[in-house]
């Protein structure tokens, strides 16, 4: 009896492992997809001011602030956001549009950055009554040494910010709507940026301060363009 269970478990483990290997394929691992990243091994990343292609003026600031934590959590050195922001403004470089295809030498020479993370905000939609925000953002990491793109991913992420109160009935529903409108209007937008950044960047190779640095080449890389509700 016990033997049958153990055999069944072993069999199952084998099947699961095979399934995982099959779904991963060869070309869709981090090691293959982001080969240049493993070649160049960038350690220090500068977050560039986001390029905003929407009418929502503030989106640029939300995304600038929210890139720092997810990249640190990935194990990279990320240049301090307030200090770099001050430098960008002093050098009149708060518009990253002129760098996205340009020469990145200044960022290597002045900051010591190995790579620059660009973000292009393509869409920002807010539905107040429903408490949802949908953003479409593309992340592009470029090497300051070679100028080539080391990592690129685009996500359309919907974040449900609705506040649920315990009160039922019509009164409860009205209260919920009011609370939701307030919450989507306030700092929750930073939360949306953060969720979006950490979700889309989750498949990025780990950085030098992560325990999985250089050990994650066989991890599945996922799609280049994703759509998700969080």
């Amino acid at each position: 009896m016990r033997k049958t269970i153990i055999t069944a478990m072993m069999l199952l483990m084998g099947v699961v492992a095979q399934l995982q290997a099959a779904t991963q394929g060869n070309e869709n691992t981090r090691g293959v997809k982001y080969a240049q990243m493993y070649d160049e091994r960038p350690r220090a990343i500068v977050v560039m001011p986001p390029i905003n292609r929407t009418n929502h003026v503030e989106a640029k600031d939300f995304f600038y602030t929210t890139m720092y934590v997810p990249l640190c959590d990935k194990g990279y050195y990320v240049f301090p956001p307030m200090l770099t922001m001050e430098m960008f403004q002093a050098e009149s470089a708060y518009d990253a549009e002129m760098f996205i295809e340009g020469n990145l030498d200044p960022f290597r020479n002045v900051l010591g950055a190995d790579a620059a993370m660009f973000t292009i905000i393509k869409d920002w939609k807010r539905l107040n009554a429903l408490g949802t925000i949908t953003v479409n953002v593309e992340f592009i990491l470029r090497s300051t040494k070679t100028g080539s793109t080391l990592y690129q991913r685009e996500g359309t992420i919907t974040v449900d910010n609705s506040v649920k109160s315990s009160q039922g009935g019509l009164f409860g529903a009205l209260l919920n709507m009011a609370a939701t409108a307030i919450s989507t209007a306030a700092t929750d937008k930073v939360e949306v940026g953060r969720k979006c950044a950490s979700y889309v960047l989750s498949n990025m190779p780990e950085g030098p301060y992560s325990p999985n640095y250089e050990k994650d080449q066989n991890v599945k890389a996922g799609k280049d363009v994703i759509k998700e509700t969080l």
């Binding site: 009896m1 049958t4 269970i5 069944a8 478990m9 199952l12 483990m13 699961v16 492992a17 995982q20 350690r43 220090a44 600031d61 939300f62 602030t65 929210t66 720092y68 934590v69 640190c72 959590d73 194990g75 990279y76 050195y77 990320v78 240049f79 301090p80 956001p81 307030m82 200090l83 770099t84 922001m85 020479n109 002045v110 900051l111 010591g112 190995d114 700092t187 930073v190 953060r194 301060y209 992560s210 325990p211 999985n212 991890v219």
Partner: protein, 116 residues
């Protein structure tokens, strides 16, 4: 029998899906939101709050690396310098370079300017 087999299946599924979960490298408290609010409003109150959060990140680190995250010493140190606590702030900016040699090019330039 059927029950234990089901248990085994669930167990295997859980084991195989949990492989990639790792504890966070750093604890951030409310530093990110607080510094965003400060850069937006630049009031004394927001500044005090942002500084308090960074202080916590530096002094009460509970992340798996058990060390201060990138940038925290530099941001807090620079805010201290601007608030008039020059020596304390410069010491923290130097600490950033010590913890993260990658920051040297940038931070040493700032330190040089502030020490002039």
């Amino acid at each position: 029998m059927r029950k234990s087999l089901f248990g085994a299946i669930v167990g295997v599924m859980m084991l195989s899906s949990c492989g990639s979960v790792q504890p966070p490298l750093y604890s951030w408290y409310d530093a990110e939101d607080a510094s965003y609010r400060y850069t937006k409003r630049l009031t004394e109150q927001e500044k005090a709050e942002a500084m308090a959060q960074y202080k916590k990140v530096i002094e009460k680190q509970k992340g798996s690396r058990a060390t201060v995250p990138p940038g925290a010493c530099a941001e807090y140190g620079y805010m201290l310098v601007k608030a008039g606590k020059k020596e304390e702030g410069l010491a923290l900016l130097k600490k950033e370079m010590e913890l993260y040699p990658e920051s040297k090019t940038f931070i040493s330039r700032i330190v040089n300017q502030l020490e002039k």
